[in-house]
């Protein structure tokens, strides 16, 4: 064994110990897969995202005396989920753009959290702009290349009709401007972008140029998306690591998943 191996083995052992002792906190960033959790709504003539459904196969009864299990059905983009580059037309030709092809080391990485919750409380169409990102960097340092950036809005605390916030002119929820996403992708080189809302784009994101800029720019550059995240208020601006491993769906464009964050404790 060389010195590096010993060091990384020590590191892992220390990490396991820190998780066990609670000095590294593990935070669940996932909503429960629930039949009633909202999904994105498109004009009805388009195909729609399947809702989460669950059918009992047996429950310790005549259908299977000693066991209980369910068939489940859902869309790749139902609930807390991961968007792969192949989800968007701009990312259709990206190599390894499907969930089953993405190298697994991409699923573990550092995370920066930009707190937009005060703004989103005032304005349901709150925009994450380059100015806000640059301002954040003044306090927390430059966003490191290949990190995840999560937009905290506390939108995950909304329930029922307030979540999609759908009106006659479509949904209203916060999201990034095209310039903000360009800054993150083209200048900072982030790995992916995540939100608490139903998509990585604002509710009114179809009216930007390009429409749905987060989807278009992120996936066009081979980057990833996370949406319907929960508990972002429990993450520090920097210093946490997230684990986001989509199901290995052959040619899948995304996947529901359990996203967890490893968060340094107060003593760290």
């Amino acid at each position: 064994m060389n010195a590096v191996d010993i060091k990384s083995a020590d590191l892992l052992a220390q990490m396991a110990g820190a998780i066990a002792s609670g000095s590294i906190e593990v935070v669940d960033l996932t909503h429960t897969l629930d039949q009633d959790f909202p999904v994105i709504i498109l004009p009805p003539e388009f195909g729609q995202c399947a809702r989460f459904r669950m059918e009992e196969i047996s429950a310790y009864d005549h259908r299977g005396p000693a066991w209980k299990w369910h068939n489940i059905s859902l869309c790749e983009h139902t609930g807390t989920h991961f968007d792969a580059p192949s989800h968007w037309i701009s990312g259709r030709d990206i190599p390894n753009g499907n969930v089953d092809e993405i190298p697994v080391d991409r699923f573990v990485g550092p995370v920066c959290v930009i707190d937009c919750s005060a703004g989103a409380r005032q304005n349901e169409d709150f925009e994450l702009t380059p100015e806000i990102i640059l301002d954040w960097e003044k306090s927390h340092g430059p966003i490191p290349a290949d990190s995840w950036v999560l937009m905290r809005t506390d939108w995950s605390k909304r329930r029922g009709a307030h979540y999609l916030n759908m009106r006659d002119d479509g949904p209203h929820s916060p999201g990034p401007t095209p310039d903000a996403i360009r800054l993150l992708v083209e200048e900072r080189g982030i790995r992916g972008f995540g939100t608490e809302t139903v998509g990585t784009d604002a509710g009114q994101g179809m009216h930007y140029t390009p429409p749905y800029p987060a989807h278009f720019i992120l996936h066009g550059a081979g980057r990833y998306g996370l949406q319907c995240l929960n508990n972002l208020d429990r993450l520090p601006p920097t210093g946490a690591v997230i684990v986001a491993t989509p199901l290995k769906i052959k040619k899948g464009t995304g996947s529901p998943l359990r996203v967890i964050a490893l968060v340094p404790g107060k003593d760290a």
């Binding site: 009633d36 709504i41 195909g47 729609q48 809702r51 669950m54 009992e56 979540y163 999609l164």
Partner: protein, 419 residues
């Protein structure tokens, strides 16, 4: 006049719910012709094609000339009560629980004399109007009404056994999001339903008519999604024991046939809602309704399916939707058999294209929600099993009766012309 029906008292929790008893059900195939006519509320008798005689009771051959060429004919339903008696004791459990029960013999203006149950307001030897209705066993029986009607006529206990009148009953309409839910709820409120539960799927997204629905007297909006087994089971747990009439108006529809859709995604939605939705509802609400078929004034009375008449013959422009309705029609027949022991009627209301967004490019005539709602309530008041709403549905079922294969060829030709 009939004593007006009183609102039923709250149920005594110490009293056992009566097991539904049924009148005797074994009849000949010829006699089932009466049930066929009663399913649509038609007053019909067997007529001989050879000698022209009308006959009653139904038989396999003409009692005048022995010809077997007999056809059911619509007959003028008027006559005179010539004999009557009030049954006060019976060996039948069903009648024993319902005596006194008036029966009589009516001489029809059209000729034959027939046996009939008799409304309490019909005077001795009076002129009567006859109706042909399904009894709790699904047999066609004649019922004699006062010829000019009477006060509270529908409240007669013998007549109420033959109908599924919404008065004082509790109704569940399964899909608030369907554009027709407002008209349906209004029609039931007007018909005297005490509570109108309306199931609401996906409360997390708005729909335009919610406020109008919520404003209707006695409406209670409750969470229900027929594509979600847990949601159906939960609601049945809450209100399954006080759902007297269930109206399944949940529907998923998209235009298109097989090849102009590139996938089975909408087809799956259509079958999830239109077929499996019916099945989930029946699995959850069927057993408590069947158990309450004889539970007093607000007994469980009827299950209503709103189906496309293209269940009978595929309309290629809505080919997959038609297929899902054909499957639902078949399931409804299974449901009829399973509800029969409780005497709970399964009413299928068939409609052609409806006045809504998914039929917007189609030319009229289209069935308006108010017309559909009227037909549903009228069908329940008449205790029917099959109702065809609007000219398109009536025309289609007539053509189907003349020849299903001929109709199929016509549907294919019409689709060709439309292209």
């Amino acid at each position: 006049m009939t004593d007006p029906l009183s609102p039923p008292p709250k149920k005594d929790p110490q009293k056992r719910t009566r097991v539904p008893a049924l009148p005797s059900g074994m009849r000949s195939r010829a006699a089932l012709g009466l049930a066929v006519a009663a399913a649509e509320g038609r007053f019909m008798l067997q007529g001989c094609e050879a000698c022209g005689a009308l006959q009653y009771p139904p038989r396999d051959a003409c009692s005048t000339c022995l010809s077997v060429d007999l056809k059911w004919r619509d007959v003028e339903p008027t006559g005179q009560l010539i004999a009557e008696t009030t049954v006060r004791t019976s060996t039948s459990v069903y009648f024993r629980e319902r005596t006194p029960w008036r029966v009589g013999s009516v001489k029809l203006d059209a000729g034959p004399s027939v046996m009939a149950h008799v409304h309490g307001d019909v005077a001795r030897e009076a002129a009567v109007r006859l109706i042909n209705r399904l009894d709790k066993s699904g047999q066609g029986v004649f019922f004699a009404l006062p010829v000019d009607g009477s006060a509270n006529m529908a409240d007669d206990p013998q007549l109420r056994e033959l109908t599924a009148d919404p008065k004082f009953r509790r109704v569940l309409i399964t899909d608030a999001r369907n554009e027709n839910s407002v008209a349906l709820a209004k029609a039931f409120a007007d018909a005297g339903a005490t509570t109108i539960f309306v199931g609401e799927p996906e409360g997390w997204r708005p729909y335009p008519h919610r406020a109008a629905l919520a404003a209707i007297a006695n409406v209670a909006i409750v969470p229900l999604d027929v594509t979600d087994t847990q949601s159906v089971t939960e609601l049945a747990g809450e209100i399954g024991g006080k759902t007297d009439i269930l109206v399944n108006n949940a529907r998923f529809i998209r235009p298109g046939g097989i090849m102009d859709r590139g996938d089975t995604v909408f087809a799956r939605d259509e079958f999830e809602t239109n077929v499996l939705g019916l099945m989930r509802l029946a699995q959850a609400f069927g057993p408590p309704m069947r158990n309450r078929g004889a539970d007093g004034v607000n007994s469980a009375a009827a299950w209503v399916n709103i189906l496309s008449v293209y269940a009978y013959a595929n309309m290629p422009a809505y080919g997959v939707f038609s297929a899902s309705n054909a499957a639902a029609l078949s399931l409804s027949q299974c449901l009829r058999a399973e509800m029969a022991p409780g005497g709970v009627r399964v009413l299928n209301v068939y409609t052609g294209p409806t006045e809504d967004e998914w039929h917007q490019p189609l030319p009229p005539p289209k069935v308006a929600p108010s017309a559909l709602a009227r037909s549903v309530v009228a069908g329940l008041k008449d205790g029917l099993e099959d109702v065809y709403v609007g000219d398109v549905a009536k025309d289609l079922i007539e053509r189907w009766r003349q020849g299903p294969k001929l109709l199929e060829r016509e549907m294919i030709a019409e689709a060709g012309e439309a292209r």
